[in-house]
Symmetry: C2
C-alpha cells in the first residue's frame, strides 16, 4: 500500500500528460500504463537493436559469451545481482533483485524464465543483409515488406511495422521488453513490490538438455512462489494471451513383418502375408472414422468442467479460417471445438513406410512396414498407462509383441508378429484455472488491456522446458507476448512493433500488480 | 510315319549302344533319347561356351550385332533361312526351316520364342573374372562352388556341376540346347517332321517394348499352329515342367490427403485429419484378416474344375519349405494351396509411404499418404472390371475420387479426398488344359521323362511377352528347362549341367513328337 501511495505522488509530479489514478489505493490503470510506455518507449529501441545484433546460435560456442556479458551489464545496471550458473552445457544467467519493501500477500517471490539463444540461421533465406543486423520494415501498397530507416522509430510509430532479426521474437524480445519496463518503473519512481528472480536460458533452442539437472542443482536459489514463462506467440487473434500448460509427447514405433526379405509380388501375392496390410489393419483398429481413439480407456480421467469449458469456448479461434488455411473440410471429432480437442491425448501417425512408392517402387510383397506414432499426452493420461493400453490392444488383435527383429523361429511360430518401441519423450504440464497465481496474473492482464486475456488451457505442442517446470514444482503460467506470424524458427523472424510495445506494458502490469482476492 | 521308319533304320546302323525302339512305328523312347544325348553332348559344350562369351546386355547397343551374326551362322549351318527383322529397337532374329516332308496332323508349323539378350551385369558381384567368361564349377566338401577346368566336361559328367555366365540360363542356354538337338537329329538322320519357326528376341530383358508391334507387323511370317516359349526355370522341384500362362499386372496408385502441407502434430493432432490413418482405414476395408479381398465381385468368374484342381494339387510344392525359406508362419488363405492361390487376382500393397520414419521423421500430421497396389490379374478377371470394382469400393467408403492433386476448393468441400491412378501394365494369358497342343506336348514330355510333367496352370508373375502372345493369338505353352536356383537376373547366373543335358533331350522329344489322339 505504502508503495502505491508513493507512486501516486510521484506520478502527479512527473507525468503531466498521464491522468492520475482515481484513487491512490488503485494500481496504475490502462491509460496510465499506456501513457508511461508511450512516454519512454523510444529510448529502448536501441537496446533491443544492440541485443539482437549479438549472434545467438547456441550451437556456436563463441556466440554465448557476448550475450552473457551483455545481460550481466543490462541487469546489473537495473539493480540486479547477476550470476552465471554453470551447467553441463553453456551457463545460464540468474539475476535477482529484492523488493523495495517486504512483499505482502501470497506471492512474495516471482520467477521468470526466458532464453537468449536463438535458432540457427540460413542467411541466404533472409531478405536482409544479415539475420543479426536488425531491419525495420513496413508493408508497402503491393503487400511487400520494405526496409525503412531505423531512425524512423524516433519520429513515428505504427504498430504494424516490424523489426526483422533472429531471436527478436524468440526470445530476446521479451527480455528487452522487461529491461525497458524495469527502467520505466525506475524513471517513474514506481517501487518494486516483489522479489524478482530471472532465469535466462542459453540452450532452449537445443531442447534445453541441461536445464532440468541445473534446476535440480540450483533449486534453493530458484525458490519462488510463482513461475512465469515469457516465451512464445500470443493466440492467433493477437489478443493478450495466457497459457496454462502444454501437452507431453510419447513416441511409439511399430514394425510389422512379412517375408524375411521382400518377395516378388507375382510369385507371392495372395500367399505371403503383406506387412503393409497388417499395419493398415492394426492402425485402423485403433481409431474410428472421426479420428477418435477406440482403444477402451484411452480418454479415461479427462474431465472438462463447466468453467473450463466456458474458458475454452471463449478462445477466439476462427475454426473456419483454420480449415481454410490448413486445407481440410472437416476436423477430427475428438473435442467439440479446436481447444477442446487439445485437452485429450492424441494418437497421430506421423510416419508410415513400407517399401517404396514412385520411381523406386518394386512389384514386391514388402518385408516390413513401419509406423511411427506420436501421442501428445495431457496431465490426466499417464504416459505409461497409454503405452500399456496400446500394447494390450495390439495383443488383443492377435499379435505377438517383440522389442526387436524377430528370429527365424519366431517368424515360423507367430502368424502376427510386431515389434514395438516406446519413448516417453516429454511430460505434459498444466496449471489449473482459478488458483491464486492465475487470479493475480489475470487481474494484471485485464487491468492492462481492459478485458480478460485469451486463456489457453493447454497448448497442443510439447516444449523442452516442461521437465524444468516439473522439477521446480511451483505454479507456472506462460505469458506469450509476440505475434503468431513471427516466423519463429524460420528465416525472416520478426517482431511486430505493436507487440513489442504491448509487451512492455504487459511487464509493467505484472510487475505492479498488487494482491487480489 | 515314313520318317519314323527311316529313323529306326538309321538308328540301328549308327547307334550301336542305343536300344532300338520296340516297334518302328514308335517314336524314340526315353532310353533312346538319353543315349543319343549322351553320345553327342560333349561336342556341344563348346558352342554354349562361345555363345555366352558374347556380351549380351541389350542396353549396350554394341553388344547386339555380334550375337546377331553368331545366331545367323548357327542357324544357317543347320539349314535354316535366317532374317533380322527390324523393330523400333534392336532387330529380332527370325529363323525358319521347312519340314523334311509335308507335316501330318493338326500341328504343322511350330513357333518357338527365345531371347538372346541377358540382364545387365555388375561384374564385381560375380565370383569369377567376368560374367562373359564362362566358368565350370562344382560344390566342394565345405559347400563352396569352386572353379574346375572347362575341359573336365570332355572326360567326366556330373549333373550337379554348373556353368556360370550371364545369360547361360536366361535365355541363351535353351537356344544352345536347341542347336545341339538339331545337330543330333541331323547326325542321327532323324528327319524334321514340322515346319519350324524361331523368333529370337533381342530386348526381352528390357521388357520387350517393341515386340508386340513387331509381331503385329510380321504376323504373316510368324503364322504357326502352336507357340512354345523356351524360357524361365522349371518348378522348384526341378522336375520337367510345362507352364500354361502367367498373371497380368494392373497397378493402382492411391493418394489420400490431410492438411495442404504437413502440420505440427502438437497443434493439429486430434484436429487435422491424418491421411495415413485414412489410408490405413481404406486399405484395411479392402481385405480381411486372411488376405482375401472383401470387395464384392472381386473373385467372380473364377472356376477351378475338378480336373484343374487335380492338376494343381499334383504340383509337388513343399509348402512347409516355402514358409521356412520365405519366413512366415501362415499364408494368406486365398486358395487351398499355393498353386490355387495363384489362380485368383491378387491385391497387393507393394509400397505405402506417408512422411518419414526413423532419422528423418518429424512430429507432424502428414500432408498425404501414398499407397501403390499391384493387382496380378488372371484371364477370368478383366483388368478394367477390377479397377472399377476398387473405385466403386473407395467411393462407397465416402471418398471423392480425383485423378490429380485436389484444388483448395475441393479440400474445403470433401472430407474424404483421394486421387487414384491406374495402369493396366500387362495382361494375363493362359492356355487351357486338354487342348490338342497340350496333349501333344505333354506326350512328348512324358515320353522323354517317364512321367507327366509338372503343370503350372498359371505362373504368379507377369512377363513382358504376354502382349506378344496375345497378338499372335495361337495356343502357347512355356517349356521352362533351367534350374530354379540359376540366379536369374542376379550375379552368378548359372546353368546346372543336368538341366542343360535334359534340356537337349526335351528339345529332341518335342521335335520328334508325332501326332497324338
Amino acid at each position: 500500500m505504502k508503495q502505491t501511495l508513493l507512486l501516486a505522488t510521484l506520478l502527479s509530479l512527473s507525468l503531466s500528460v498521464i491522468a492520475q489514478p482515481k484513487s491512490t489505493s488503485q494500481p496504475l490503470n490502462q491509460s496510465t500504463l499506456d501513457a508511461i510506455v508511450q512516454k519512454h518507449i523510444r529510448s529502448y529501441y536501441g537496446e533491443l537493436y544492440d541485443f539482437v545484433s549479438l549472434p545467438s546460435n547456441a550451437y556456436v560456442k563463441e556466440h554465448v559469451q557476448p550475450n552473457l556479458d551483455w545481460l550481466r551489464n543490462a541487469f546489473s545496471r537495473r539493480g540486479f545481482s547477476v550470476e552465471f550458473l554453470p551447467t553441463k552445457g553453456h551457463p545460464v544467467v540468474f539475476a535477482e533483485r529484492k523488493a523495495d519493501t517486504a512483499p505482502a500477500g501470497p506471492l512474495k517471490t516471482l520467477l521468470f524464465y526466458m532464453h537468449f539463444d536463438g535458432q540457427p540461421v540460413e542467411p541466404s533465406a533472409w531478405q536482409q543483409e544479415s539475420p543479426y543486423k536488425p531491419v525495420l520494415k513496413r508493408k508497402n501498397a503491393s503487400g511487400q515488406w520494405e526496409a525503412m530507416d531505423w531512425q524512423a522509430l524516433q519520429t513515428g510509430y505504427d504498430p504494424e511495422w516490424r523489426i526483422y532479426a533472429r531471436a527478436v521474437s524468440d526470445d530476446k524480445g521479451p527480455i528487452a521488453m522487461m529491461l525497458a519496463a524495469l527502467d520505466m518503473m525506475q524513471k517513474e519512481k514506481i517501487g518494486q513490490r516483489y522479489h524478482l528472480k530471472i532465469l535466462l536460458d542459453s540452450e532452449e533452442e537445443m531442447g534445453a538438455p541441461n536445464l532440468p539437472a541445473a534446476v535440480q542443482q540450483y533449486r534453493d536459489k530458484l525458490a519462488a512462489d510463482f513461475l512465469m514463462i515469457m516465451d512464445g506467440p500470443r493466440h492467433l487473434s493477437n489478443r493478450p494471451t495466457l497459457s496454462y500448460g502444454c501437452r507431453g509427447i510419447t513416441e511409439l514405433t511399430l514394425t510389422t513383418y512379412g517375408p524375411r526379405v521382400s518377395q516378388h509380388s507375382g510369385h507371392y501375392g495372395n500367399y505371403a502375408p503383406n506387412p503393409a496390410l497388417r499395419m493398415a489393419q492394426l492402425l485402423s483398429s485403433m481409431k474410428d472414422e472421426d479420428g477418435r481413439v477406440t482403444i477402451p480407456g484411452y480418454y479415461d480421467g479427462i474431465v472438462i468442467d463447466d468453467n473450463a469449458r466456458k474458458i475454452l469456448a471463449a478462445v477466439p479461434d476462427n475454426e473456419e479460417a483454420i480449415r481454410q488455411k490448413v486445407g481440410f473440410a472437416q476436423p477430427d471429432k475428438v473435442g467439440r471445438n479446436y481447444q477442446e480437442a487439445l485437452q485429450y491425448p492424441s494418437l497421430n501417425i506421423r510416419g508410415l513406410v513400407s517399401a517404396n512408392v514412385g520411381e523406386k517402387s518394386n512389384t514386391i510383397v514388402p518385408d516390413k512396414a513401419v509406423a511411427e506414432i506420436d501421442i501428445r499426452t495431457v496431465p490426466e493420461s499417464d504416459s505409461q498407462r497409454l503405452i500399456d493400453l496400446v500394447l494390450n490392444h495390439i495383443r488383443s488383435q492377435g499379435y505377438h509383441i517383440l522389442d526387436r527383429e524377430p528370429t527365424d523361429e519366431e517368424r515360423q511360430k507367430h502368424p502376427k508378429l510386431i515389434s514395438v518401441k516406446s519413448v516417453i519423450a516429454m511430460l505434459p504440464v498444466r496449471t489449473e484455472f482459478g488458483i491464486y497465481p492465475d487470479r493475480w496474473l489475470s487481474a494484471a492482464m485485464t487491468r492492462a488491456f481492459g478485458q480478460e486475456p485469451v486463456k489457453i488451457r493447454i497448448g497442443g505442442g510439447s516444449v523442452p522446458i516442461a521437465p524444468f517446470i516439473r522439477v521446480l514444482n511451483i505454479p507456472s503460467i506462460s505469458v506469450p507476448m509476440v505475434n503468431m506470424d513471427n516466423n519463429q524458427h524460420a528465416a525472416n523472424e520478426n517482431l511486430r512493433l505493436g507487440n513489442y510495445v504491448e509487451g512492455v506494458k504487459t511487464w509493467l502490469a505484472i510487475l505492479t500488480q498488487p494482491e487480489v482476492k
